[in-house]
Amino acid sequence: MSVLSLITGASVPVQLVMLILLLSSLISWYYIFLKVFTLRRTERQTAEFERQFWSGADLKDLFQRAVNARDSAGSLERIFESGFREFTKHRREPGVDVAALMDSTRRAMRATYQREMDKLESSLSFLATVGSVSPYVGLLGTVWGIMNSFRGLANVGQATLSHVAPGIAEALIATAIGLFAAIPAVVAYNRFAGDVNRLAIRFDSFTEEFSNILQRQVH
């Protein structure tokens, strides 16, 4: 009695459940790998830009570089770019109020920040859903299979363990697949949520510090 025979021997609803679980497992693993790549890349770019920024480079130079390499720029670079663009645009206007200038700069940066965060957090909700729902889906398949196996048992005169065992084994496979899909998804979700949070804190603090620097330039 191999695993494959258990799967092929299961009833159609249970097989359907297994198929759904397998698909969600595949997609969640796809997102897991994708997120790993994206987050690692973002972290690297952020560290690189922070190093450049705090090494005392000219802000105009940094801005120029960010505009030129817009396609491959990291999240933090984009935030910097949008803030500096807004700042320089408003600064040239005569008789501008400092508080209003800083407000609009900060708003521009916040907008870019939120867009970037949304990109980083995308598909995390899918992982959360798979992690919390697929055990239940697997359980549904198992309950269905056990119901069927007990119903078949009613037709047999003397019920022995050997009558029930194959049906239950078939049914339990569904729960196994559900857990198999859920566990990595939950682990990955927690890990990624933490990573994204740490990036968000870095972006936030950079925004504040950059605002201070710009405000000092106005005076």
């Binding site: 009695m1 191999s2 695993v3 494959l4 397998l22 497992s25 595949l26 997609i27 693993w29 796809y30 997102y31 897991i32 790998f33 994708l34 790549f37 994206t38 890349r41 396609d71 491959s72 047999v156 005169g157 003397q158 022995t160 050997s162 009558h163 198999f180």
Partner: protein, 267 residues
């Protein structure tokens, strides 16, 4: 490299990795579970012995009896037949011819006696030698016969032991075969769905032909139980229960290639 290119490359990589992950897990699952299955099959082989088996007799021929070399008969003592002593030169003629004659006769007799005695001792020695030789030969024959008997007894004993051993081995093999048969019967019984219409406890015989891996090649009804539904149930159960665990090699060819098995709803 542009962001779009990086993105598409990462997506492809992630897709491939996810797929590989699942293939790996599937392989692990299949092999892991079948490994456990194998483990269970081999774990129940237990032999119970009431007492220790007799140590098998050494397959060694008993040492050959010490060869008794018949001693070569001692060489017959040389019998030197000494020529009769030279007749003394005739004494000076004496008048007493009668005396002389008498003396002559006596001397002759004496010489004759000496020769006779010598001959007798020689004869005796020869006879003794022959006797000795005969005795030695008889001794040799006796020891040889003894050794022969000993060897024969040893051979007989060995044969007996070998026969006992063979019987023991046959019994062990029979036990082994019974064990496999029981395993097959138990496995089949697990799949039999006894039809509710069955009355009593009828017996159905099936002739089963197996492949060396334990797969069922052919199932034929030998003796019907009288209930066609029960017959069909057993037949489908045999087909469903395959593969059976069977011994490999010669015992399989001898006992499991094709065998008849009787089934009853209640054993």
């Amino acid at each position: 490299m542009t962001a779009a290119a990086i993105n598409s490359r990462e997506q492809a990589l992630a897709g491939g990795l996810a797929f590989a992950m699942h293939v790996l897990f599937l392989i692990l699952l299949v092999f892991g579970v079948s490994w456990q299955h194998q483990q269970i099959n081999t774990a129940v082989v237990v032999d119970l012995w009431r007492d220790l088996p007799v140590a098998p007799p050494r397959a060694e021929a008993p040492p050959p009896p010490p060869a008794v070399k018949p001693e070569p008969p001692p060489p017959a003592p040389k019998v030197e037949v000494k020529p009769p002593p030279k007749p003394e030169p005739a004494p000076a003629a004496r008048p007493d011819i009668a005396l002389k004659e008498k003396q002559d006769k006596e001397r002759k007799l004496k010489a004759q006696a000496a020769v006779d005695a010598k001959l007798r001792t020689a004869e005796k020695a020869r006879e003794e030698a022959v006797e000795k030789k005969k005795r030695a030969e008889a001794d040799a024959l006796k020891t040889k016969q003894l050794a022969d008997a000993e060897a024969k007894r040893a051979v007989a004993e060995q044969e007996k032991m070998r026969a006992a051993e063979a019987a023991q081995r046959a019994a062990a093999q029979q036990r082994e075969i019974d064990k496999y048969m029981d395993g097959i019967r138990t496995k089949v019984k697990r799949f039999v769905l006894v039809p509710p219409s069955l009355q009593g406890n009828p017996e159905a015989d099936f002739v089963v032909t197996l492949l060396p891996g334990g797969e069922v090649l052919d199932v034929r009804l030998g003796k019907s139980s009288g209930n066609a539904a029960y017959d069909a149930a057993i037949e489908s159960a045999i087909r469903k229960a395959q593969p059976f665990s069977v011994p490999a090699g010669d015992p399989f060819q001898q006992y499991f290639r094709r065998f008849t098995m009787a089934f009853r709803p209640v054993q």
